[in-house]
């Protein structure tokens, strides 16, 4: 029997949680190895060997060491096609292409403004940094445009890539969870009928609920 795969990093990290939810969706047993950011463990030579940018997560199984959460998710989804949620990686070339398209949209259009908002609204005050109101306004405006596109898409499609839940939807879970649960900007999502329906469906999946439990532990 293969040893459980290893994921390095704290579950609160959005990138780490992206990998954890993927492993849980695929029923792949894993061991979560803590990395103390406070003790700068992620910048130590042993860790840098796995992840040359000194960031979390890193991933190891019997065959390979990997980094970048979306690359790890693709590897897991491809390696275990018949385990757990089988639709995760797209069941045919057309769905796969659509999944890639919406994963790119996530990276290029959704992540930048949602990350800035998460940082400015939640972390800046915690770190005693002055919030940049102009930056908040600018990024909220950007995110609104993106969510308008999603609202339209999800009006004619159950999930982003098509009828089934794929990595394209999964990838949105961490940042959206943060904005909906930890900021006062939840209405950006909940005021949009289709986005709200989609968020409700994907965030109540057992795998994501488990990850949230791990984050709150």
């Amino acid at each position: 029997m293969a040893t459980p795969v290893k994921v390095y990093g704290p579950p609160l990290s959005t990138a780490v949680s992206r990998v954890l939810v993927c492993l849980l969706e695929k029923d792949v047993p894993f061991q979560l190895v803590p990395v103390s950011m406070a003790k700068m463990e992620h910048k130590k030579p042993d860790y840098i060997k796995m992840q040359p940018f000194g960031q979390v997560p890193a991933f190891q199984d019997d065959d390979i060491t990997l980094f970048e959460s979306r690359a790890i998710c693709r590897y897991i989804a491809e390696k275990y096609p018949n385990k757990g949620t089988m639709s995760l990686f797209g069941t045919n070339p057309l769905v796969k292409a659509s999944m890639d398209q919406w994963l790119e949209a996530e990276s290029q259009s959704f992540i930048p403004p949602s990350s800035v908002l998460a940082f400015q609204i939640v972390f800046a005050p915690r770190m005693k940094l002055k919030q940049d109101e102009a930056l908040i306004k600018q990024n909220e405006a950007k995110l609104v445009k993106v969510l308008d596109v999603y609202e339209n898409r999800l009006g004619s499609s159950q999930y982003l890539a098509g009828d089934e839940f794929t990595l394209a939807d999964l990838s949105h879970l961490p940042n959206t969870q943060f904005l909906v649960e930890k900021t006062n900007r939840a209405e950006l999502f909940t005021s949009r009928k289709n986005v709200s329906r989609w968020w409700s469906e994907i965030s109540t999946r057992p795998a994501w609920k488990k990850v949230v439990e791990m984050q709150n532990a």
């Binding site: 065959d63 390979i64 491809e78 292409a97 259009s109």
Partner: protein, 209 residues
């Protein structure tokens, strides 16, 4: 049925797609989108890319947007034709995917901002330039180490992991930012190698500059 790329000469993202099609020897038609007339924000184009950005792509019944999704589709559909742009072995492909993500999440963020500043599309004083040059330098340090061990980012052969870099690298090599690439010997050699590929030279031959 002709493959169509909706974009324009001068668009980095359009070039990214064209490079992949030339590498695969796939004939296509470049349909110019009239940005000055805001064609990209009109309903007909928004039906192709709801974000109102170029490029968009059409291959028979398949309609796609996002340049890096298009290149992956082209690489898979036309496997066996022209240059192999994705690794066949799953382990090697996993490694390729890591470096494709690095380009997307790290290299593009830093290099695109510097490109926008150089194009005067974004206001950027010396402080902003210095900030993003530092980000790019940190990424290129990792590349230098990687390319000391491997000829290309994914391993022994040229793949999408390298190709995706071409448009931004090409632009920045015409600016002061070139010194960041040239200061690192393996990065410099890799840049010289990938920018001299016939498919890329063909893309550049269309450029008005």
């Amino acid at each position: 049925m002709t493959v169509k790329v909706y974009g324009f000469v001068g668009s980095n993202a359009t070039y990214r797609v064209m490079a992949s099609l030339y590498e695969k020897n796939v004939d296509f038609e470049l349909v110019t989108v009239n940005m000055a007339a805001w064609e990209h924000k009109r309903p007909r184009f928004l039906a192709r890319n709801p974000f109102g950005q170029v490029p968009a792509f059409e291959d028979g019944d398949v309609s796609l947007f996002e340049s890096r999704a298009i290149t992956q589709y082209v690489a898979r559909k036309y496997a066996g034709k022209g240059t192999e742009l994705i690794m066949k072995d799953p382990i090697q492909m996993a490694i390729q995917t890591v470096w494709m993500e690095v380009e997307n999440q790290k290299f593009d963020r830093a290099s695109w901002k510097l490109t926008e500043i150089a194009m005067h599309r974004v206001r950027g004083g010396p402080e902003l330039v210095a900030e993003y040059e530092k980000k790019l330098s940190d990424v290129l340090d990792v590349y230098e180490a990687r390319l000391t061990e491997n000829k290309y980012l994914a391993g022994d052969s040229f793949t999408l992991a390298d190709l995706h870099h071409l448009p931004n690298i090409n632009f920045l090599m015409e600016t002061r930012v070139r010194r960041l690439f040239e200061a690192r010997p393996h990065v410099r050699a890799w840049v010289a190698d990938i920018t001299s590929r016939p498919a890329w030279v063909k893309v550049m031959s269309l450029s008005p500059w």
